[in-house]
């Protein structure tokens, strides 16, 4: 889901190289088609595309049916769509804030519910979900996006507990700064990672059944510090 995002595309290349069949969901048919062609050349025996707007919350049951039918079964899902919320605009408008929440949180919870119930019934499967280090603590610079991701983190944590005994794996992925077309204009430093390196860590975490992935790994340490700053001090910081 969100197959045209840089992280999803890079992850799909890793799966293609492993010989996996893929079902790509996104909004733009041209871009999906270009990615599907590329993935077939990189080793995917099958790369199907499906055009859908992630905000259409009622479309998800049909989406999962369609993916299962066209691939002849479903064992792993990566949920990676989203918008990089414009914090200034979203704090000025509740409508925009709600729309961002629909894109970055509610749609994730709906798709996780649909996939979780089916994977539970089939007794296996892996749901890999892109959350964010931004969801670990709300900060004034991006708390609309951050709180949507916090919802995703909490939701997947509970889902993981529920489904673990049923043989279904839920992975919460928390990328730090990733150098993608969306972040091209940002100043880059040593904390930035490429989509390709993030993708490799995601595939490894899926294969090993890891519960939570900070990628690159050092974000775990950074977020431990940020989470542990007392609120009386934190409220004075310009983060």
């Amino acid at each position: 889901m969100g197959a045209t995002s840089a992280i999803a595309e890079a992850t799909a290349r890793e799966f293609a190289a492993l010989g996996d069949a893929l079902f790509l969901v996104g909004r733009n048919p041209d871009r999906l088609g270009a990615i599907a062609d590329d993935l077939r050349l990189r080793g995917a025996p099958q790369a199907e595309i499906h055009v859908m707007d992630a905000r259409s919350l009622t479309d998800y049951p049909a989406l999962v049916d369609e993916a299962t039918r066209r691939l002849g079964g479903l064992d792993t899902a990566l949920i990676a769509h989203g918008t990089l919320t414009d914090q200034t605009a979203a704090q000025a408008s509740s409508d925009l804030m709600l729309a961002e929440f629909q894109t970055n949180a509610l749609s994730y919870m709906v798709l996780c519910t649909e996939l979780g119930n089916r994977f539970e019934a089939q007794g296996r499967g892996s749901i890999a979900v892109i959350s964010s280090v931004a969801g670990d603590r709300g900060r004034q610079s991006n708390y609309v996006y951050g709180s949507a991701k916090a919802a995703v983190t909490a939701f997947t944590s509970g889902l993981r507990q529920r489904l673990h005994p049923k043989g279904v794996h839920v992975l919460t992925i928390k990328p730090g700064f990733v150098d993608t077309p969306m972040t091209a204009s940002f100043k880059k430093g040593p904390l930035w990672a490429t989509p390709a390196s993030v993708a490799k860590s995601i595939v490894k975490a899926v294969q090993r059944g890891k519960p939570v992935l900070y990628t690159p790994w050092f974000w775990w340490g950074i977020m431990q510090i940020i989470k542990n700053v007392p609120e009386t001090i934190f409220r004075k910081l310009k983060l």
């Binding site: 840089a6 733009n28 041209d30 270009a34 062609d37 150098d179 969306m182 091209a184 204009s185």
Partner: protein
């Protein structure tokens, strides 16, 4: 991870607004001055647009189609040659022309009309491009080939990224029996011997190149090794090199390349026993890309980076002018770590502004020691100009506008094809400076 805007010579410094390119279907951003940036393997300022915008063309990295029966590959222009090799070599195809690093984008290979060790046979990269699409700032997209928009095709090959964004390309790959090459290497005592070996090798050897010992003086001036090879069937006993690489982890505060280390390295390298081999077998990686195994080796020149100088001089009189260049370099004590010498063949380059032309090409690099280095390079330019040669824009950060305009008299005809919203630091330097 080097940010877009840093060139391989790590000099000059420049600052940019960088635009991502999420898809080949998108329009160009609204900028008054922009330049495509691939993988940053150009050495000087031809990949920079100081104070203005860069387009991160490396992000256009999808394969579009590949036919293992014909070796025709269509791809987005940000795909690296290394990625083509990974995809196509298992079915027996290889880039038709490759420079000394496989970490260049196809768009960059076209925009600089790059050459390799097989120039005498194959010409340059542009000779193997069947077609490409070019996106202009006015929103139009031109499909260019030898038969369609052929003037744009010629202007864009070797056109330094100035004619628009190369979005995708179709390239004819070369059939090879596998990843191995067979050949030999031998010492030569001076430039005359080099030219003799080159002449007798060109008929039977696809790849030829020579390394010159720049510590040689007097009778030893221009001594070196001549290496030649052909693609070969994989021998039964062959084991490929590991895919391991090392990374130069930091930039030393001073250049690690100085007169002492240069002389020692060059002498040892010349005399090493493995320099002479009768029937050598190489994997393609050490044969074509010896430096690619040390990622970011360019950092060893320290924070001020280095200058690369690559010229081509006509065959007639090449020996005399190259001898004089080597003599001046030796005398300056500014030395060059790797000196590469190669003959160019007569296959005509297709680009209006292409660098390769018949003759001999010499490539050197110099740690940036400021005015002294610039004075030496200007003196080398004087020699190149005096014989009607040229200097390679992809490697340049300092040639004068007068030199450029003498080397590339077609630049004014070319400038009609420059997109009004495209420019580069290099282009401004060599065209806007008073003649």
């Amino acid at each position: 991870m080097a940010a877009p805007g840093t060139s391989w010579g790590r000099w000059p410094r420049a600052s940019h607004r960088v635009h991502g390119l999420a898809s080949r279907f998108d329009r160009l951003p609204d900028e008054a001055s922009m330049l495509p940036f691939g993988n940053g393997r150009s050495y000087g300022d031809s990949c920079q647009n100081d104070g203005a915008a860069l387009l991160n063309a490396r992000q256009l990295d999808r394969f579009i189609a590949f036919d293992p029966a014909t070796g025709v590959i269509e791809l987005e222009a940000g795909v690296l040659l290394s990625e083509i090799i990974d995809l196509a070599l298992p079915s027996g195809w290889f880039p038709p022309v490759t420079p000394g690093t496989r970490f260049v984008t196809v768009g960059g290979a076209i925009a600089n009309d790059v050459h390799g060790k097989n120039h005498h046979r194959a010409g340059s990269f542009g000779n193997h491009v069947l077609a490409f699409t070019l996106r202009r700032s006015d929103g139009s997209t031109l499909r260019c080939s030898p038969s369609e928009n052929s003037d744009w095709f010629a202007a864009t090959i070797g056109g330094l990224g100035l004619t628009g964004l190369i979005v995708s390309a179709t390239v004819q790959l070369k059939r090879v029996p596998g990843p191995w090459l067979r050949g030999d290497s031998q010492r030569f005592g001076n430039l005359r011997e080099f030219f003799e070996i080159a002449a007798e090798s060109e008929r039977d050897w696809e790849y030829t190149v020579a390394w010159i010992d720049c510590s040689g003086v007097g009778r030893r001036l221009g001594r070196g090794h001549f290496i030649r090879g052909n693609h070969a069937v994989t021998p039964a006993s062959a084991r490929g090199p590991g895919s391991g690489t090392m990374t130069m982890p930091f930039t030393p505060p001073l250049s690690a390349v100085n007169a002492l280390s240069l002389t020692a390295f060059n002498k040892l390298y010349y005399h090493r026993p493995s320099a002479v081999a009768q029937d050598a077998l190489w994997h393609y990686r050490p044969f074509f890309y010896p430096l690619d195994s040390i990622l970011e080796w360019n950092r060893m020149y320290g924070p001020r980076g280095f200058y690369q100088y690559q010229c081509v001089v006509p065959q007639d009189g090449a020996e005399a002018v190259l001898s004089e260049m080597l003599r001046q370099i030796g005398q300056s004590g500014l030395g060059s770590f790797l000196v590469v010498l190669k003959t160019f063949g007569t296959v005509a380059s297709r680009g209006l502004l292409s660098f390769p032309r018949p003759g001999a090409t010499l490539a050197l690099d110099f740690p940036n020691r400021g005015a002294k280095t610039l004075a030496l390079l200007e003196s080398l330019d004087g020699l190149t100009r005096s014989v009607g040669g040229a200097v390679y824009p992809a490697k340049d950060a300092r040639m004068s506008a007068a030199s450029f305009q003498q080397y590339f008299p077609q630049w004014e005809a070319f400038s009609r094809y420059v997109d009004p919203k495209f420019s580069s630091s290099f282009w401004r330097r060599v065209t806007e400076t008073a003649k």
